[in-house]
Point group: none
Chain length 195, copies 4
């Protein structure tokens, strides 16, 4: 029966994720979740003790997915420049996603729960992103495709820029063109040209 319970749990997470994407974190009530899931109030509490617990479970799932995306970016058989472009475009896709975008909810959750250190899911994702960028640039420099004096700093700068794009897409909106320009600018700095 653990099997069935696990399936249900996953089903709730999926539906709940949709609600969080639409409404953010704080505005979401248990009522909305149970209605989205088509289950009873009590039923939800069998799986998650409160909204925070539920959201953290959604977040954990998200983390797993995000890790997969990062790994995928590295797996591609391509030149470092192509791979960097691939990776930044994957980020672009996330940023521009209107539906199915958990960003706002995550930010709100972070505001409510100031989490220091390693448990901070946003920090984990940020650092993972910096690590990917660093390895891509390092390889690019090694293969003489890219020019970069301080690889670690360049990676961090790109990560902050994309963090800025992400939050901006939540607050003031960003167009695909704007993201493309940022990507081109970043590539340019590394000595690459985007056609």
């Amino acid at each position: 029966m653990g099997e069935k319970s696990l399936q249900k749990r996953k089903y709730i997470l999926e539906k709940a994720r949709g609600v969080f994407c639409q409404k953010g974190y704080r505005a979401v009530t248990m009522k909305e979740i149970v209605e989205a899931c088509g289950i009873s109030r009590g039923g939800l509490y069998l799986h998650f003790i409160n909204t925070k617990d539920l959201f953290e479970a959604v977040l954990a799932q998200e983390h797993i997915n995000a890790e997969a995306v990062l790994r995928n970016a590295k797996v591609q058989n391509a030149s470092p420049g192509e791979m960097l472009l691939l990776y930044l475009n994957a980020q672009k896709k996330v940023i521009l996603k209107k539906k199915d975008n958990l960003s706002t909810a995550i930010y709100e959750y972070m505001f409510d729960n100031k989490i220091r250190g390693k448990n901070n899911p946003v920090r984990r994702q940020f650092e993972a992103s910096v690590a990917v960028l660093e390895s891509l640039i390092a390889e690019g420099v090694a293969q003489e495709w890219m020019v970069c004096e301080d690889i670690a700093e360049a990676a961090r700068n790109i990560a902050y820029t994309f963090e800025g794009l992400k939050i901006s897409s939540c607050t003031i909106g960003v167009s695909a063109e704007v993201v493309d320009k940022e990507i081109a600018y970043i590539m340019g700095i590394l000595g690459m040209v985007v056609k």
Copy 2:
């Protein structure tokens, strides 16, 4: 009477700002605000029709402050490079401020009220910032202190990077050193060296 009322309004905004800095936007209750102001519940509603209205008034005040900072940066009799550094360090100060920092509240407000177009206070601030950066870089390039192919894009990139630093300081925390490195990196790209 309008005089007195205006003073009272300003007083409330000041105290309310303090509360919003401490608690963010959504978590703030009317009780907390009236207690911080030492006025009655009803008294608050004489000046502001609801919490949102109150926060927007705080925000408008904030905008004025930001403008003043921008103007100040321009007023300084300094080289474009020095002025850019001055401006970025002013931004740094805002980002690192622990107390008296409205950023989180503003983000939360924006999440609750997706405002498109010119009325969006965050967009206004962002665009003002880009404009300042643009004019500074343009001058720097004109006076041959700086090197930059696409001034508009460079300005926007810096603005996004700082937006990323600001949101990161609200979610994962950023140290003064990290901001300094970003500033140095940005200056370096423009062909300037920060000692």
Copy 3:
């Protein structure tokens, strides 16, 4: 306005007392109280933070009343025997009261909140009762109306017997006749005859 608030508080206590008398302690809901008071849910919370707080306020009021009864018994210009009889009959009245009897609620409250020491309201009442009985018997013995070897013990025994009658009236019911017989028996032991 403290005046009005105090009146309201007293009004709520009165109505709440009625509900506690009828339903006991644990079975009472905030809904029942607000309905009995004819006020809004939120209105009740302006005066009492929860059911426990409310009941304790009722209890405090009760304590004041009980003290008054005890004092009255002593004020009467009567022989010690008459005064003892008067006091026991006052207790009898409390025990037999069907309506307006808080006993069950008090017992339930005590079960929920095991309070040790001086703050225990039941203990305070019990000890006050023993003290009254002791002084009455002591006077009776001094004036040679009563015979008693261990006055303190006799007083305590009477108090426990009446405690037994009180709880019995809450669980199995006791008739006026039974209480009268107990009173007669107690008086008899002290060498007095009740006609």
Copy 4:
């Protein structure tokens, strides 16, 4: 099958009794009971239709135990005074028992379910106790060990006093010394001396 079912029923009653002793009557949840029993929620309902039914079954068991104690007291080959002392000390033991004491739960159950007449388990126990006391005192008087004018009343008085001690032990606590003093006082009234 009836055999097995009966065993299971007895097992549940035993475990449930433990929970009721610890938590009282109203505070006990089905979850606690099924956990204490190590059975499923549904399983419990195969044997008892609801919490009340379960508690009543525990109570019935209890009644049987009490009867046994009473019988034992009578079986002892001892003088009426010794037997009375034995019986009162058995009661004392029940009163002072900290663990494994169902008293509070029984009181709470009685408050929730005002049961008049013969079905009232507390009344049955009370009356059984009075009967035992009466027969012991009657024998004591007959054998000229005791002095008592109104045997029935003396028995009832003792029963009420012990009822008072029992409820007091649930609300304000009673020490062994206090109970001993009460026993000595009662014995003294009957003309017996407790060493």
